[in-house]
C-alpha cells in the first residue's frame, strides 16, 4: 500500500513569508496575510467580484488590494469602513475576506454558496449575503499574536478553482487560521445539495485526528464547517474510522504489520451533520486524511512519504493535506 492518491489536481503556493521585520505590527501582518491569499486565489482561477481598500468599495469586479496598505484597513465591526474583498470560485460561490476584528491577527471569513454577496449600503462596510456562512466571525486569531515571528502562509487551490484551503505557521507552530471553501464528495446525500460545497474553519488544536480535535462536535470559529443544503444552513462535523472508542488506536505510531509495516494508517475523513432536518452523513472531503503519530510533538509541517502529503499540526496525531512533492515546507 502507499499513501493516498490525491483526488484533485492541486496548485500549492507554499512558503509565502510575511517577515516580521517588514510587517512590524499585527495589522500590517494581517493585511499582508489577507492580500497574499487573495492574490494567490486570483492567480489560480478565482475572480474578483468586488473589493474595498477601506475608503472606496464596490461590487464591481475591481481588485483594489493593489498594495498591502489597501488590504490593511481594519475595522472593529462590519459597519465601519474596512478592507474587504469578495472572490468567486469555480462553483459560483463567493468568498469574503473582511479585515474586521479587534486586533490585527483577526478577520472575518465567510462565504456565500450561491454567490450572492452584495455591497453594503455603505460600500466600504463589509458586504452582506442572504445565504452567508460565516467561518470566522472575527473571533479566532488567524496568524497568532506573536511580535517576533515571521508568518509563513501556504495556500492550496485546485485546478478547477473549486477548492481552496489555507494554513499559516508562526515560529514553527501551526496557527489557528486553517480554513477553506471547498467542493465536497457528497456521495451520501440524496436530497438537493448544490453546489456541494462546505466552508470550514479549524483552529490548530482541532487539526488533530482525535476525538477532542477534528472529530468533535461543530463549534463556531473553532471546529467544523457550514454548508447550505436545500436552503438550510447546516453545521458540519467530521469523522473517521475509529476503534475502541477512539480514533487514535490505528493512528498511532505503530506501523501496520499487516500492511507490510510500511507506515501508519491513513484514513479518509468524512463529514456529516446533526442539524435538525439536515441530519446524516454527507460524504468524503477531498484530499484530507488522518495520519499516524510519526511526528514528535512540537514538529509540524512534515511531509511524507515522498513529499506528496503534509502533516500540518504540530502534534503526534495530525491530519494530512496534499503537498507538491518537492518543496520543503517552511514553518518558521
Amino acid at each position: 500500500m502507499a499513501a493516498p492518491v490525491q483526488q484533485r489536481i492541486w496548485t500549492i503556493t507554499p512558503n509565502q513569508r510575511i517577515p516580521i521585520a517588514t510587517y512590524t505590527t499585527l495589522v500590517l501582518l494581517g493585511g499582508r496575510y489577507l492580500r497574499l491569499i487573495a492574490t494567490t486565489l486570483l492567480a489560480n482561477g478565482y475572480t474578483c467580484k468586488g473589493s474595498c481598500d477601506g475608503v472606496t468599495g464596490a461590487m464591481d469586479g475591481v481588485n483594489r488590494w493593489t498594495t498591502d496598505a489597501n488590504a490593511s484597513v481594519q475595522a472593529a465591526n462590519t459597519t465601519t469602513p474596512v478592507s474587504w474583498i469578495v472572490l468567486t470560485d469555480g462553483n459560483g460561490c463567493n468568498i469574503l475576506m473582511s479585515f474586521v476584528g479587534a486586533t490585527g491577527d483577526i478577520a472575518r471569513l465567510a462565504f456565500s454558496p450561491s454567490g450572492v454577496y452584495v455591497a453594503a449600503g455603505t460600500p466600504s462596510h463589509t458586504p452582506t449575503a442572504t445565504d452567508e456562512q460565516v467561518l470566522n466571525s472575527s473571533v479566532a486569531s488567524l496568524i497568532t499574536t506573536s511580535t517576533v515571528n515571521d508568518r509563513v502562509l501556504h495556500v492550496w487551490t485546485d485546478s478547477e478553482a473549486k477548492m481552496m484551503r489555507v494554513a499559516c505557521y508562526a515560529g514553527g507552530t501551526l496557527a489557528n487560521g486553517n480554513w477553506g471553501v471547498e467542493l465536497v464528495n457528497a456521495n451520501r446525500v440524496t436530497i438537493t445539495y448544490s453546489p456541494a460545497v462546505w466552508g470550514f474553519f479549524f483552529t490548530a488544536a482541532n487539526m488533530l485526528s482525535t476525538g477532542s480535535g477534528m472529530f468533535q462536535a461543530f463549534a463556531a470559529n473553532s471546529v467544523g464547517g457550514y454548508a447550505r443544503i436545500n436552503g438550510t444552513t447546516t453545521n458540519i462535523f467530521a469523522g473517521a474510522e475509529g476503534s475502541g472508542g477512539t480514533f487514535a488506536q490505528f493512528n498511532s505510531a505503530t506501523r501496520l504489520n499487516l500492511q507490510k509495516g510500511v507506515g501508519q494508517a491513513m484514513f479518509p475523513i468524512v463529514i456529516g451533520s446533526t442539524t435538525a432536518t439536515r441530519q446524516g452523513p454527507i460524504g468524503y472531503i477531498y484530499d484530507w486524511w488522518t495520519c499516524g503519530q510519526g511526528v514528535a510533538t512540537g514538529v509540524g509541517g512534515v511531509v511524507f512519504p515522498g513529499g506528496e502529503w503534509i502533516q500540518l499540526a504540530d502534534n503526534a496525531s495530525g491530519t494530512a493535506w496534499p503537498w507538491d512533492g518537492s518543496t520543503p515546507p517552511q514553518t518558521t
Binding site: 446525500v189 468533535q216 475509529g242 507506515g263 446524516g280 486524511w289 511524507f304 517552511q330
Partner: protein
C-alpha cells in the same frame, strides 16, 4: 431506500425453542441444536463425547439432549463435547466444560487438528487451537444464568458453502440476548497484505445488554479492543494467534451511535442508516493492522432498551434481522419467517444503506520522521529558497516503481518545470511530458 447486498447464501434455522429445563440441559440443548444444524448443512462430525464414551471417530454421539449435557468442570474432566469440521477444513469445538451448568467451552482449529485427549472424554486438544470462550481451563456461560423456568430461543446461520456459521440465543421472557453469541466464518482479507492461508475467524460475544454484542460501545462492544470470550474474535496470521476487534466510522468525539436512531434527512428520511460491513482489525503485537471485512454483518438502528428496537426486528421484507438487543447490528434473514426472539414482537424497521464504503480506498502512508525525509530538513526552518542542490527522486533510497496515475487532460505548463504524466488516448496508454513553453511530447507508448 437501499439495502446492502448480501454476499453469501444463507440457510437459517429460526425460532428454535430451548425449553424450560435445568441450565445443564439448556446448555446441552444449545450446543446440540447448533451441532445438528451444522451437520445438516454440510459440516461433518470429526468426533464427539457423550460424557462416557468418546472418540475422534466421526461419530455423532449427541443423539439426545442429555448426551450433550454432561458437564465437566475443566478440560480434564469427562464431559460432552463435539468437534465439527467445515468446508475449509476448520474444526469447531463445542464442549460442555466449565464451573457452572450454564457453561460451555468453544474453540476452533483452523488447521482441523483437533485430536481426542488421552482420556477421550476430556476436552479435545489442537496444537493450533484458538480458544474462543474465556481464557483458562473452564468455560463461560453460554445460555445465561436465569434458572428454569426460563425458555431460551436459538437462531443459527450457515452459508451454502458450509464455510460460515453463527449462532445467537435469547431469553424468551425479556427478548434479549443471553449467554454467548459465537461463530466460525470466513472474512474478506483482500485489504491486508500478509499471507493469510485461511481467512477464517472464530468469534465469541457475550450477549446480554451489558455485554459485547453491540455496535454502540467503544469500551465493550464489537469495536472495543478484543477481550476473549466477551467481544471480538481470533484468527491465525502466518501462524500467530491474532485477536481481532471491529472498526467502524465514528463521529462526535468517538461516538458510534451518531444517526443510529434517526431516519436521516440528508438521505431522504426513508430509513435508519445501515452502515457497511465492519472492518476487522488487530492490535496483536506483530500482527497490528487491518485484517479484513466481516461478511454480511452491518450496523443498524440503535434504540435504547424498552423503546422500539429489539432482537428479531427485521428490515427490507425480512431480508435482514437484528441479532442483538437494542438493535445496532444487522445480519441476513430468510425473507419469510417472523423471528420470535421472545415475548416482545418483532417489528419491521425502515432501513437505508447510508454507510460509507469504509476502506474502499485504503491507504497506509509512510509517515517518516524528520531524519528520514528525502526532502532536506522538512521542517525547513531557514531555507526559504529550498535546497541548494537539485533534488532527484533517485536520492530517495528504495524507490523501485514510480506510479503515475492517468490524467484525463494535458496539464498546464509550469514555468521552470517539465511535467511528466500518463494518459490514455485513443485506447493507447502513453507517457507524455509538457515543457515549460507548453510543448507536449510523447515519451513512450504502450503496446499497439
Amino acid at each position: 431506500m437501499g439495502f446492502p447486498t448480501i454476499v453469501r447464501t444463507w440457510v437459517i434455522t429460526a425460532n428454535n425453542v430451548i425449553a424450560d429445563a435445568t441450565l445443564a440441559l439448556q446448555a446441552g440443548n444449545y450446543m446440540r441444536l447448533a451441532a445438528d444444524f451444522l451437520l445438516a448443512n454440510g459440516y461433518t462430525c470429526a468426533g464427539s463425547s457423550d460424557g462416557v464414551t468418546a472418540a475422534m471417530d466421526g461419530v455423532n454421539r449427541w443423539t439426545t439432549i442429555a448426551l450433550a449435557s454432561v458437564r465437566g468442570t475443566n478440560t480434564t474432566t469427562p464431559q460432552s463435547w463435539m468437534v465439527v469440521t467445515d468446508a475449509n477444513g476448520c474444526d469447531l469445538l463445542l464442549a460442555h466444560c466449565g464451573s457452572a451448568d450454564s457453561h460451555g467451552r468453544f474453540g476452533c482449529s483452523l488447521g482441523g487438528l483437533y485430536v481426542a485427549a488421552a482420556t477421550a472424554t476430556h476436552t479435545p486438544t489442537a496444537t493450533d487451537e484458538l480458544l474462543l470462550t474465556a481464557t483458562g481451563t473452564g468455560g463461560q456461560t453460554i445460555v445465561g444464568t436465569n434458572a428454569a423456568p426460563a425458555q431460551r430461543n436459538m437462531f443459527g446461520w450457515v452459508d451454502s458453502t458450509a464455510k460460515n456459521c453463527r449462532f445467537v440465543i435469547t431469553l424468551n421472557s425479556t427478548t434479549q440476548n443471553i449467554g454467548t453469541v459465537f461463530g466460525l466464518e470466513e472474512f474478506d482479507s483482500s485489504i491486508q497484505e500478509l499471507t493469510i492461508p485461511l481467512s477464517v475467524w472464530g468469534f465469541c460475544y457475550t450477549g446480554p445488554v451489558a455485554g459485547g454484542f453491540n455496535a454502540i460501545s467503544g469500551s465493550a462492544g464489537i469495536a472495543a479492543t478484543s477481550t476473549q470470550g466477551s467481544h471480538g474474535g481470533r484468527t491465525r496470521i502466518n501462524g500467530v494467534a491474532t485477536d481481532m476487534a471491529m472498526m467502524q466510522y465514528s463521529f462526535l468525539g468517538g461516538s458510534y451511535t451518531t444517526w443510529m436512531n434517526v431516519q436521516t434527512e440528508l438521505q431522504g428520511g426513508v430509513g435508519y442508516p445501515i452502515w457497511d460491513p465492519f472492518l476487522l482489525v488487530s492490535q496483536t503485537s506483530g500482527r497490528f493492522g487491518i485484517v479484513g471485512h466481516v461478511v454480511d454483518w452491518w450496523s443498524s438502528r440503535y434504540a435504547a432498551l424498552g423503546t422500539t428496537t429489539t432482537v428479531g426486528d427485521t428490515y427490507n421484507a425480512k431480508a435482514f434481522m437484528v441479532p442483538g438487543v437494542n438493535g445496532s447490528l444487522l445480519w441476513p434473514w430468510d425473507g419469510v419467517t417472523t423471528p420470535v426472539a421472545g415475548v416482545q414482537a418483532s417489528i419491521a424497521q425502515s432501513g437505508n444503506n447510508t454507510g460509507f464504503e469504509n476502506f474502499e480506498d485504503p491507504a497506509f502512508g509512510s509517515l517518516t520522521n524528520a531524519v528520514s525525509q528525502y526532502v532536506p530538513n522538512p521542517v525547513s526552518n531557514v531555507t526559504p529558497t529550498g535546497p541548494a542542490t537539485p533534488k532527484s527522486i533517485n536520492r530517495r533510497a528504495g524507490v523501485d516503481v514510480i506510479r503515475l496515475h492517468d490524467i484525463s487532460a494535458d496539464p498546464a505548463a509550469e514555468t521552470g518545470r517539465t511535467l511528466m504524466y500518463s494518459r490514455v488516448i485513443g485506447g493507447q496508454q502513453a507517457l507524455f511530458c509538457v515543457y515549460a513553453d507548453g510543448t507536449v511530447y510523447q515519451v513512450g507508448a504502450g503496446a499497439a
